[in-house]
């Protein structure tokens, strides 16, 4: 069975060949059918460009892109069986919600009664049955987001692309929509490709994820793999803000002379701990406290559960970690 989406050494460079902006640079990627795939990375790392390569709004300057085994590198967007939920939703302001949702069917020439029935079905799916006659301008941000979702699903795409669809929503709505998106994806069995720069969102929703950095994929794997076994310093730092330890410090903790990472939540206060330093900051997080100490010129952060006896800022403290928490990275 072919993969839903496959990138073979795909690059997308902008600007003059002498000094190109390498938005996407030699990316190899396989997204399995039915997966919830997240693309995670900092601003400007090439996530949106990757998504646009799949939808067809950008074409690769090198490499090829296959959707369900078919090379689509030269297929225009309107002929790809892929739909997008745009970051700004891009709802048509002159059409009501029903016409917006039915748009994909209208341009295919489906009759009015039939396409409205289908649109209502999609609106029910996103719990907006009663809103068909409203204009997009009369909806809240969360409702608009659902309309955009219903509109993209009406064509029954094989792959749904979502570019930071929850970026504009407040925290509470965001969490509700995360659950809803996830369950929708499981019910419909459509492959979702989801762009975000929020690591919590990526980790909690995706079956597998790719971490982007500077147009390249830094690591690809399941959330657990990426979180627990970061391959590079960048991934360790970006996903879950790990403590990144230089080779000397790793060695002093009994590891090899390589870079390593330590999760803040795997550290705890211990009078006999191997990491000793001055407490430089104390922050209350709600669910616990974040304590930072400086040792050998290196800041190490620990997240301590509420109720722990906290050290004074400026005092000396010792930290230790569970065996196996120290993750050695391959990167030199």
């Amino acid at each position: 069975m072919p993969a839903a989406v496959e990138f073979r050494s795909v690059s997308r460079h902008f600007g003059p060949a002498s000094a190109p902006v390498k938005a996407v640079d030699g990316v190899d990627l396989t997204i399995a059918e039915g997966a919830f795939f997240a693309m995670l990375g900092p601003s400007g790392s090439g996530k949106t460009t990757c998504l646009r390569l799949i939808s067809g709004f950008e074409s690769p300057t090198a490499g090829e892109i296959c959707i369900f085994g078919e090379n689509v590198s030269n297929t225009p967007p309107h002929l790809r069986n892929v739909n997008t939920v745009f970051q700004d939703y891009a709802l048509f302001p002159h059409m009501n919600v029903r016409d917006n949702v039915a748009y994909g069917l209208m341009v295919k020439g489906m009759g009015r009664a039939q396409r409205y029935a289908k649109a209502e079905e999609m609106l029910a799916l996103v719990h907006l049955d009663a809103y068909g006659s409203r204009k997009p301008g009369q909806l809240s941000g969360g409702q608009r987001q659902r309309v955009a979702l219903a509109r993209a699903l009406v064509n029954e795409p094989k792959v749904l692309l979502l570019d930071e669809p929850l970026g504009a929503l407040d925290l509470k709505l965001r969490e509700a929509m995360q659950d809803e998106l996830k369950s929708l994806q499981q019910r419909l069995g459509i492959t979702f490709v989801f762009v975000t720069h929020d690591q919590h969102e990526a980790l909690s929703m995706a079956d597998s994820l790719a971490v982007f950095n500077d147009g390249k994929i830094a690591q690809i794997g399941t959330p657990a793999q990426v979180y627990a076994q970061p391959k590079t310093r960048f991934v360790a730092d970006f996903v879950g803000s790990s403590n990144v330890l230089p080779p000397a410090l790793t060695q002093s903790l009994g590891g090899p002379a390589k870079w390593s990472s330590l999760r803040p939540e795997s550290l705890h206060l211990d009078p006999a701990g191997p990491l000793q330093g001055t407490v430089t900051s104390l922050r209350y997080l709600g669910s616990g406290h974040r304590v930072a100490i400086t040792t050998q010129g290196q800041d190490i952060a620990a997240i301590l559960p509420s109720g722990t006896q906290l050290p004074e800022p400026g005092s000396e403290a010792r930290l230790s970690f569970a065996p196996g928490a120290l993750h050695i990275m391959d990167e030199a």
Binding site: S55, H78, T84, D88, A90, P93, V107, R151
Partner: protein
């Protein structure tokens, strides 16, 4: 006890007053322009409307200041009715011609021109507006004349037959372009085109690229995107532009005098009735027609949903 705040000056007291009563400042600022708009602008319009309900005494030639619909009845006389119809058709043709010419230019300027090209665009559109209207119209008369550059170019390229075919068209043709309705149409379209391009460009500029991409993404071809997304979203701009081209053509009295076959237009009729004939009521009644037509046009446009995208 010492005062914490220093003693206030008169200016401080004034700004404090405005701060506490923001409506007062707004009222002060907006009153002069409102007076201008209300009294001078709308007031003169009301006076015009009033005039059109007076009539003229046929023997003395004096205006009779009594309310009557007689003057409006005169508008329906065949020769007056012809003037109205002719003006209306010319205005409609000029508007449609302007829309067709302006759209690609406005679209290019809104979606593709960047930086220096944008400046070139604005300059190109505005430059013709900086020279005198009369100069432009006379220049066009020379271009369109029988001995003009157009005829010359047609002769050189052996395309005379096209020109002759156009001039042979019944009704709108004529002896030469400068004495035909075709020529008048060309000149009108030339002078009013910027008023169509600018609002159209502003409307197209406000259409986000993602909306066009969303349409394509959902399977629409370029033609479908154009019809179902671009045109409806640009419609308020098109309507705004057409208000300019339509009403400017309806009221113009110079171009029909210089170019064309000296057939009468509303503007010319107003000019003559007011000046030589001294028939102010009929002139006023003529002047009311463009206003009524524009009101009908706008309400039709609104009913058709032209402003839904606003």
């Amino acid at each position: 006890m010492t005062a914490i705040l220093p003693a206030k000056s008169a200016a401080d007291r004034l700004t404090t007053l405005f701060w506490r009563k923001p409506k007062l400042l707004l009222a002060l600022l907006i009153t002069p322009p409102l007076l201008w708009l209300g009294v001078i602008y709308l007031g003169s319009l009301a006076a015009l409307l009033l005039q059109s309900f007076y009539s003229i005494d046929e023997f003395s030639g004096m205006v009779v200041r009594e309310f009557t619909l007689k003057t409006y009845g005169e508008l329906l006389r065949p020769q007056n009715y012809d003037i109205i119809l002719r003006t209306l058709l010319m205005s409609a043709a000029v508007t449609i011609g302007s829309v067709i010419l302006a759209f690609p230019i406005a679209y290019y300027a809104a979606r593709y021109a960047r930086g220096r090209w944008k400046a070139v665009f604005y300059l190109g559109i505005m430059l013709p507006l900086w020279s005198s209207y009369l100069v432009k119209v006379y220049a066009w008369k020379l271009i369109l004349a029988k001995e003009g550059i157009l005829t010359w170019a047609a002769t050189q390229t052996h395309t005379n037959f096209l020109l002759d075919a156009a001039l042979a068209l019944p009704g709108i043709g004529g002896n030469s372009l400068s004495t035909s309705y075709i020529g008048m149409f060309l000149v009108f379209t030339y002078v009013w085109l910027p008023y169509m391009i600018l609002p159209m460009q502003a409307a197209l500029e406000r259409v986000p690229t993602s909306m066009l991409e969303a349409s394509q993404d959902l399977g629409a071809t370029r033609a479908q995107t154009f019809r179902t997304v671009i045109v409806p979203l640009a419609l308020p701009g098109i309507i705004a532009g057409s208000i300019f081209t339509f009403s400017l053509t309806m009221g113009d009295y110079i171009i029909p005098q210089i170019v064309g076959n000296s057939a009468n237009f509303i503007g010319m009729a107003v000019y003559q009735l007011q000046g030589t004939a001294g028939n102010t009521p009929l002139a006023a009644a003529f002047a009311v027609i463009p206003i009524v037509i524009m009101l009908i046009y706008l309400s039709l446009a609104k009913r058709a949903g032209a402003f839904d995208a606003l």
